[in-house]
Symmetry: none
Subunit: 158 residues, 2 copies
DNA sequence: TTTCAATTCATACTTTTGAGTGATTTTGCC
DNA sequence: GGCAAAATCACTCAAAAGTATGAATTGAAA
């Protein structure tokens, strides 16, 4: 993805280090002449080199190494959210249709067939048919049993 | 907590660096004599110093940098355990009797009045009376509504 | 286009539920 | 023992729920 750019980015420090070294050696060569004259400056000269290259090393290390990270996992206790996922497998297994599921939800909410009919703008007979088919598919004999089973199977929200 | 130990731990590298520097300078001083004899070895000598101190710098940087700590919050869902405490306050407030509560539980479990009657060894009429009184006290109009409300109020187990 | 499942609705019938009233028995408590 | 609440049961009537059967419509897939 970022191969070419990344390569230069990762090695630019090495390259610049090479340049720096070359320049420094050239500089030192020139200083060598002076060194002959001012002989006792050798220790200062050495110390300067030492400090310089130590700094260079530090700088290099800091630039080139990926930052050390320690991942500390902190447990955060949260109340189990209302992540209700309708058990679609069970719904499919039982062969419950969309409309039937709608009716089932309203039944479980405590609505009468008439109220459900009004709510869905269909006749009472239609709801009776749906609920009857529903009970057959769910193998129950009443709306209360259907509600109970539906909640246990996670077909509808508790 | 770890003050004294930590101080030494944090500065031991600096101390050892100081020692190393002293030894190296002493070593270089000795090499200086040789350097006078073998004059053309200066470049090698400089290069050695450069490499040495660069290494030292790198080593120092790696040792002295404290690792970054990243705290990752890990969510732990605490499943509300089955610590079901019947909401007795609510039961008392509604004026629900022991027998009525029993009937309510069976209604919510999906049993018909006849089944409840058989289970409790009383007549169907008795259950009807109980459930009727129950609905009055709970201000609901059907067993499904009673079930729904009872579960919401934690009167019965969900 | 045909086919099939889903949705809709009706009619008739049975069962269950629920409301209302009244009555008897049981039980806990002062 | 007597009282009050709780529990029991019966009877009637009405409403709601549930079953069974049949049929029209629709929409999507074969």
């Amino acid at each position: 993805m970022t191969g070419a750019v990344n390569f230069f980015s990762k090695h630019k420090h090495v390259i610049s280090y090479g340049f720096s070294l070359a320049i420094l050696l050239f500089l030192l060569k020139w200083l060598e002449i002076r060194f002959v004259i001012i002989n006792y400056a050798l220790e200062i000269y050495i110390a300067a080199i030492a400090i310089l290259f130590t700094s260079l090393g530090i700088w290099l290390a800091l630039k080139l190494t990926s930052p050390k990270t320690i991942v500390v996992e902190k447990e955060v206790f949260t109340q189990s959210e209302n992540t209700f996922f309708s058990n679609e497998k069970e719904i499919e297994k039982l062969g419950i249709s969309k409309r039937e599921l709608e009716v089932l939800q309203l039944i479980s909410a405590g609505f009468s067939n008439q109220e459900i009919a009004d709510h869905l703008f269909v006749s009472l007979n239609t709801i009776k048919t749906h609920s009857s088919n529903l009970f057959g598919k769910m193998e129950v004999k009443s709306r209360t049993q259907a509600t109970d089973k539906a909640k246990r199977l996670n077909i509808i929200e508790k």
